[in-house]
Subunit: 420 residues, 2 copies
């Protein structure tokens, strides 16, 4: 067996007050035929990143519904994770030089993990490209493969480097199901698996998304010197050109001419092994200059899930000025806090922000600034848009909807028989 991830129990009933009876009943009904089904989720990491966040809620919920669900992570070395990082970048459109050595490193680690795959499951859900070779290599080593295999791709493949996608495709084509975030992300030439489109989701009961008391919000703001009596806007995103933090500062500066007391909180996360991330973090600090109404914060300043929650909850407007975005869970997070979201009109953001209904889609710094001013000038409008956003998320982007989609797919998969 691979590395098993310990889980904290969750109960579907805790979600009833949030999603309502009808949604809960549908989930219970879909789960009723799946009692005892052995489900295994496999990904590359137990901590950090949206997939780990999702699985830490999804797997316990499946257990609560009577499925025999578990979560395991593959074991890899540094060279492997360097290759999979390059693979991730290539699949997102960054041209990378590939060598046979790199394919070998990836294959070797997948093969080694496959050799420790020693149980049968009814459903194996493999997340992203890192462990995508497992199905083939389990079949190679055991001479057979049991159960249904699903590949869940969390990446926008629109501009994927051809040779890298072709390599991944050769391993993915024998899966029973392939799940993508948007129809646009499905590549030509994937003929084997049945394709499903499933949007990502957030857990409304996680520390990052649960309703927190106003006193906690104010305590967090005070800790970082943000004035709760003055208007504040926030963007929560890596410091990365695609998130356009410099454009966010420029838009804030225009808006600040109309609202001189305006504050901007930018929250990112920094990793030690990411020199490009550092460089752009510095670039952002330099653009901010000595305007200390701009707060540039990260895990380095102790910002974690509760703090992100507080900043999103306290903001007059949440920004996500991405120039490119696979999905953008921070948009969902902002909408869930009942804030209007002003966001770049790209990728998965188009699913979330309904222009003029729960926020605005923008194409430029000036447009972003104009929309910010518009919403800051009309708090009642901002409030009603925020409420519309929360309802949009409630219907479409909570983890219970994602759970329902998995249960539907499991039910649909022909030939399913509960094991033993």
């Amino acid at each position: 067996m691979l590395g098993s991830v310990p889980l904290t129990a969750k109960a579907i009933e805790d979600y009833r007050p949030i999603i309502g009876d009808e949604a809960v009943e549908e989930i219970l009904s879909l789960a009723s035929g799946l009692k005892g089904a052995k489900v295994l989720h496999i990904n590359a990491t137990a901590f950090g990143g949206g997939v780990a966040e999702l699985l830490s809620a999804m797997v316990p919920l499946m257990c609560d519904l009577g499925l025999d669900a578990s979560w395991q992570v593959i074991t890899g070395n540094d060279p492997f994770f360097n290759v999979t990082k390059a693979m991730h970048n290539s699949l997102q459109g960054m041209i990378t030089q590939w060598t046979p050595e790199m394919w070998n490193i990836w294959s070797e680690v997948n093969r080694e993990n496959a050799s420790r795959f020693d149980e049968d499951y009814d459903f194996v859900v493999v997340h992203d490209p890192q462990p995508a070779g497992l199905r083939q290599m389990v079949e190679d080593s055991r001479g057979r493969v049991a159960g249904k295999w699903l590949w869940r791709c969390h990446i926008d493949l629109t501009e994927a480097q051809v040779e890298v996608w072709e390599f991944v495709r050769s391993y993915v084509q024998n899966y029973d199901v392939a799940i993508f975030t948007m129809r646009e992300y499905v590549k030509e030439g994937l003929h084997g698996p049945k394709v499903h489109i499933v949007a990502p989701a957030i857990d409304p009961l996680s520390l990052k998304n649960v309703d927190i008391p106003l006193a906690t919000v104010h305590e967090v703001l005070a800790r970082y010197g943000v004035d709760p009596a003055r208007p504040m806007i926030t963007q929560v995103s890596r410091f990365d050109p695609w998130k356009d933090p410099l454009g966010v500062i420029d838009a804030y500066r225009i808006a600040k001419k109309h609202f001189p007391t305006l504050q901007l909180v930018m929250v990112g996360s920094m990793a030690n092994d990411d020199p490009e991330g550092w460089a752009y973090y510095e670039r952002t600090l330099r653009r901010a200059g000595e305007d200390f109404d701009i707060f540039i914060l990260s895990n380095l300043n102790g910002v974690g899930n509760v703090e992100v929650n507080a900043f999103q909850s306290a903001a007059q407007v949440v920004i996500q000025k991405s120039l490119r975005e696979g999905f953008g869970l921070t948009v969902t997070e902002g909408l869930w806090k009942g804030r209007p979201v002003v966001a770049g009109a790209v990728g998965g953001i188009l699913l979330q922000v309904q222009d003029g209904v729960n926020g605005y889609l923008v194409q430029s710094v000036q447009e972003c600034a104009d929309r910010l001013v518009h919403l800051l000038e009309q708090p009642a409008l901002a409030q009603s848009m925020g409420e519309a956003g929360r309802e949009h998320v409630r219907k479409n982007f909570l983890i219970t909807r994602n759970l329902r989609d998995y249960l539907r797919i499991f039910n649909q998969l022909s030939g399913y028989q509960p094991s033993q």
Copy 2:
């Protein structure tokens, strides 16, 4: 025995072309009566910081001279190093809340290390306060203490918090010798040991200080985007209010009005466990703003000893605008590269920068800027001042002078008999 530090051999003869026959002969003569003398240096860390840098050259040189010299580091846990960090800050004048618990942690680790101290030496040199309790605790545990014990204090104690110094003093008073950097740093009330004044020093053959080819200098500059065809000034120092990086930027800005092509390279080192360091690094980036003729670099950008060497060597002027400084080895490093140094008129800098001879002592941003302009306008003057600086270092601040001082003290110590 404590943690033994592996060493790379060094030869005194390699220094003859640098310091001349007379200086080498004096060292050989002082060492002749000390052949076989067992010498142990003890400090808290084998890597990082000026003391480790010094010992990594000093101990091999003593061995080369026929002494039986070694270097060991004490073993401590996180609470101990938190206490010794607070101790260090308090001894430098930062008021800290002390508790009996903290004294206990310090004493316990010193006692534990003393219990593993199982050999006799002719000379034990204990560096700084972290292991200062060893002598007393060895005596307590073994009932006796062999050889001569020297305490080498690398800290400016001028504004030491009284209770912390009194605690350290109670352990230091039974040493045979106490060595300080400047007369002014010696505290009242230290009656036991004989006091010596010994300035710190640099190793001219280390990667940070050895003459490097111009091609290497240019390669380093190119790697960071610094233009070798344009004038450049540099400060190498932590991002810390006492090093006044904001004042350095302000002075550069004034000078840049006269020299629009001027570049400023600021090099610091960043530690993950130092939130104050991070905050001031960000503060410095913000002051720099989007003037990309200001380069703010650190180990995060891959700056190591060779890179520091290259920036100092390439600079028209080296700056050390400290508002407070125990000694300031970076001043010595700058002078050794043959650069004039413009520096704050504080602490140990007064020993190094001879105003108007090898650089200028300054009291303000404006004065700093004026001196920078003056030197940039007169390259021949800067050149001759730089040469004077190199000679000043050659005579006074090379490791061979520091080695000589130790040998003198060992010889002077009454009652010395080579062991066996």
